[in-house]
Symmetry: C2
Subunit: 364 residues, 2 copies
């Protein structure tokens, strides 16, 4: 192999490919990336056996070939070279890197040892605006469960139907759902479950441009111009979460998101043992009352400015479930909606309809 390119382009590709590698794998080849000339570009591949990344770097191929080298080492080294242009080439199992100011030899492993990354083909399922995909993943990704026993809810549901993609994640104590409008209807109605870790990686790696989605036999591929992420799917049926979403609420409070977060943090110092904080909503008042107490440490009562309407009501939450949601939104105001101390409550943005968070109260 012999390939010449701008150092910056190679660096950018290495950064993307290295993200998926956790390091310290006992099987050395899994700590490596595969470099391979591919239709006029250099393809960099990495995999953790659940999620694989292929990313392509533009440049000039002088000789076709392939090799694998340790991902972190190559990334840390090449990123810090002073060169503008680099020539990379192979001699047996060694990668040569040459720049204006540097010459490097990185010992690698044969490309044949690298795990096979599934080929996905060209059956397009849908096109998504990358920025919207990132927004929706950010709004739901945190809510998935870390569950070995219930693999379905350790993933994020992607529901393609007509011109709408709905993402949902739950750990049975709370549920986050975000909707994305598609410019064109999806090629088919499909419900797939993608591991939560892979979903967060997709968001980080694909940027804000258009993203295409492809499906094939237990695998999904998200692709932009230079990069594709291929994840295995989680088998099984996603829980029918729609049934727990209340149809009507009796009490509502509109609150500035940042003030809500700040007050939760203040109240939380007295809720270190049980995570419980109590909210009291009294109509026509200009605030929500937030109470927390600890037998050992003390107690606090905070009045958060708010517009409260509906019936008088109160509810107890695990404050971390509220913070998780509020920290992942960017809206100025949110609306807190509830029915009774024992019923699920909702958080929705005050000015848009494409996100919903359901959180179970603590019953005492």
């Amino acid at each position: 192999m012999k390939f010449v390119c701008k150092k910056k382009n190679l660096s950018d590709g290495l950064v993307i490919a290295t993200k998926v590698i956790s390091g310290g794998n006992t099987l050395p080849i899994l700590n490596n990336i595969l470099l391979k000339t591919d239709k006029g570009r250099l393809k960099i591949s990495s995999t953790n056996l659940e999620l694989a990344i292929n990313t392509w770097v533009g440049g000039k191929i002088e000789e076709e070939g392939e090799i694998t080298v340790p991902a972190r080492l190559a990334n840390d080294h090449i990123n810090n070279l002073l060169a503008d242009k680099l020539e990379i080439s192979t001699e047996k199992q060694t990668l040569f890197v040459k720049g204006e100011n540097a010459e490097t030899h990185i010992k690698g492993l044969p490309a044949e040892e690298f795990p096979l990354i599934p080929e996905i083909g060209d059956a397009l399922l849908a096109k998504i605006e990358g920025k919207e995909l990132q927004r929706a993943i950010g709004e739901v990704g945190f809510a998935a469960a870390f569950s070995e026993t219930q693999p379905e809810i350790s993933g994020v549901l992607f529901n393609f139907e007509g011109k709408t993609l709905t993402l949902a994640a739950t750990d049975r104590y709370r549920l986050a759902e975000a909707k994305v409008n598609l410019a064109e209807a999806a090629a088919a109605s499909k419900q797939i479950i993608i591991p939560a870790r892979a979903v967060n990686e997709i968001s980080r790696s694909l940027g804000s441009g258009p993203v295409e989605v492809y499906l094939k036999e237990g695998q999904v591929c998200f692709r932009n111009l230079d990069t594709e992420l291929i994840s295995r799917l989680i088998e099984g049926q996603y829980p029918d979460y729609k049934q727990i979403i209340p149809q009507n609420y009796t009490t509502q409070a509109e609150i500035e998101r940042v003030l809500f977060i700040q007050s939760l943090k203040a109240a939380s110092v007295f809720a270190t043992e049980n995570y419980n904080i109590e909210l009291e909503l009294t109509p026509q008042t200009k605030h929500v009352v937030m109470k927390s107490q600890s037998a050992q440490a003390g107690d606090s009562e905070i009045h958060i400015p708010a517009e409260v309407s509906g019936q008088k009501n109160s509810i107890i939450f695990n404050y971390r479930y509220l913070l998780d949601c509020l920290n992942n939104l960017s809206d100025e105001k949110i609306s807190l909606r509830m029915i009774s101390p024992a019923s699920p409550a909702a958080i929705v943005p005050a000015k848009r309809e494409d996100f919903l968070y359901i959180v179970m109260p603590i019953k005492i």
Copy 2:
């Protein structure tokens, strides 16, 4: 006690006082801060028995008094309150905090249980520009040893002599020395050794305004308008480090600091086992050659743009000792000076004389 003040002022004081408390002390009182009315202001005190902080908050005293409360809890809570003004008061061992939107009770411990913080008195040793003190501490603090067996070098030497304060720190493999000009001569010539952790805290807490230094029986106090830090001194004689500073060098290279750092990072990926990197300085060339190699991983040779003069020479360093120094400077260019592969080498800023770093080579 009853005290009224701006929330921001109280928050700022709590942040400063809380820094010194590591948390999780088995003696609960050491996790607490002492709040005490003091000559028209509120004094907040904290101590880890090595370093103590007193910081004063302006406001209105309505009733004198004192109490101790958990430092982190009080800090995290009060920082996040929405109030502009706060009233704090005590009832038995409980601190009441009242703001426009909040009322809090924090359970405390009696002020009498709080450790005595030494009184330092008013025998001024020297006045220092805070900004210069921060600069000098940043440039030497990292070089002190983590040594239980050699307590003297686990501290930073402060040498007051005439109009010069000299700071020095060493772990016997490297030495950092920084000088600070004093506007007025010190009241006496004094050499004191301050624990490195305390020194770094002084730098963080006192800001860039004028700082006064007071000495008394095994204690030193650094004081600005609102805050003082009182540290115990380390007993013993600081090593006579001047003798290892070379008087003349035979080879010199002037290098851009950022390029030097970047190249060290690139080279370091091949020096993970022994930390060795080799530098070759050849006069009249326009670069320093940096070599690193690993039997397992590979090798690299990097040419760092530089002005080299004097004799041809080469030397092997532990790259982490170079990075420690370079990362703590802010100069655009530095000068690397050496005598032979077996002699200590020096790093000095290209354009100022008030900092010197001596690093021992690795002899192979």
